[in-house]
Symmetry: C2
Subunit: 310 residues, 2 copies
């Protein structure tokens, strides 16, 4: 049972860019629909994989509005709204709540390092109090490799104690299973999502509620199959298969690799575009990635027919 | 000789906040004037010490406009305009150039870690090309302890080669003198500012052009004295004095300590306010800081008379 409204497999939606590096709204909306069609349980748009932090909050808010206006259910969204600046976090979070998003995934303010749990608690508290809306459901975003600012067990405890109906879960992208396990064990009813499908089955068996994973953008159906069958006889085999696919993809820089996969399998070269400071995969890396995926038997559903004319 | 328009002692201007944590525009403008009155050579507003990354770019731009409208010379400003998002960096940089700022201090995009020099070069290039203004003078901001993204020698070389009239200097807040020395040696005519007055005299002797230092907010006259007399007999003694003062201040969290100093010596308690995730010094830490400064013989000029009525 989950406390919040999400469980299962969530994808940090890739953001397509046009040649001039502006967000490609049409492709974004179509891609959100495609992910939902593939069985994705939630759209963690504007996460690390979404190159969210390479976009202004205005750009992110415009994409979110377009997707919801374009018929993607607002409740499916768990957009990233945690910024360095208090005022930006408040603005993006308020916007998401007003649009009816099911929750938000919130980074700690990540520029200043070595801050205390007291200071981080105060940062989250200010956002919660300024938004001041009972509909707000926050999933804390622990991703030390990028943010270099931790969401410690002590911080979670302080926040859950003060805001039990608002701070309802966590995405753990530490890559450290012992931390995921510790959070699950320490906070029953708190919705913990490992940040990689590599830990999906272990997470579900331990009391987690799913996963939020970059590769959900490329292998949504495969990952979803583990979630659907996690109590069945095939669970370990299914898990082994998605772990193998994950390892092929993450052998390259993750975001450019995922975009290269979409560009190739959806026959849509513009998907390869990334914003600096990321760089696209070169031809050799692309060819190696696709060859490895072919050898693995990787498949991906075609893009939606109605998008084919774009 | 400098290539850009700055040399000497620059302060990353502290940002005063009101009780509701909004920027205190009046105190900010008055404080910029006070720093200039104290002999500060440039105002590196919206740096790390300014809690810039806890503010939206709209908040920063409004403060900058207010200061310039309030009579602080635009050419004295070297505002921080490097953001995670390309579009934010372009917007803030364009704004600074249009206002007539003497330069900008530019962080690399700092969310994504492990980016290549090629990717970082592309990020700076996009900003330079989109701003597209010959007046733009960029000082690269190397601060690995916070940004966790380096400005390497290779990256500087690429940027200086492509944009020799635009990329004119660097602030080195690595705290690693060997890196500062290496940059000075590798790029003659490139304006290097150590990020701490501890390295001011060494920097000037090696070919640097000054320093950009947090404690310029509290000890501007003392630090300026080293710059004025760096070729004189007293230089080493003067340097030893400012290094001693620095060590007292940095024994506490730097920004709250500097704000506590202003609150105390300018008899203006509201200066102590910081934005989360920072926390103000507690009473004991404040008392210890002031006691240590008193024992050191620390002095600071009073705030401007015209501000006394505020």
């Amino acid at each position: 049972m989950t406390t919040g409204s999400f469980e299962g497999v969530l994808a940090p939606v890739l953001t397509p860019f046009k040649a001039d590096l502006s967000p490609d709204t049409e492709r974004f909306v179509a891609f959100c629909h495609w992910l939902v069609d593939q069985g994705i349980d939630g759209l963690a748009a504007f996460g690390t994989t979404s190159e969210a932090n390479s976009q202004s909050i205005e750009e992110r808010m415009a994409l979110l509005e377009a997707a919801i206006e374009g018929g993607v259910p607002a409740a499916k969204f768990m957009p990233g709204t945690g910024c360095c600046a208090l005022t930006d976090s408040v603005r993006a979070t308020e916007h998401a709540v007003k649009l009816g998003c099911g929750g938000v995934l919130m980074l700690p303010p990540f520029y200043y390092k070595g801050m205390t749990d007291e200071g981080l608690h105060s940062a989250f508290s200010e956002v919660i109090q300024r938004v001041g809306d009972d509909r707000l459901k926050i999933y804390l975003y622990h991703i030390p490799p990028q943010a270099q600012v931790d969401i410690s067990l002590e911080l979670i405890e302080m926040l859950v104690k003060d805001y039990p109906d608002t701070v309802v879960g966590l995405k753990d992208s530490s890559g450290d299973w012992s931390n995921t396990q510790a959070v699950i064990d320490a906070f029953p009813g708190f919705d913990v999502f490992p940040g990689s499908e590599v830990f999906l089955l272990d997470g579900l068996r331990a009391g987690g509620v799913g996963c939020i994973t970059a590769t959900g953008n490329a292998n949504p159906a495969g990952i979803r199959k583990v979630f659907e069958n996690w109590e069945g006889d095939q669970a370990d085999d299914l898990q082994a298969a998605i772990t193998a696919t994950r390892k092929i993809i993450q052998a390259r820089p993750m975001v450019p690799a995922l975009k290269a996969i979409l560009a190739h399998y959806h026959d849509d070269p513009s998907w390869a575009t990334v914003r600096p400071p990321m760089v696209t995969l070169d031809a050799e890396a692309r060819a190696g990635l696709i060859a490895n995926l072919e050898a693995d038997g990787f498949t991906i559903a075609p893009r939606r027919l109605e998008d084919a004319a774009e």
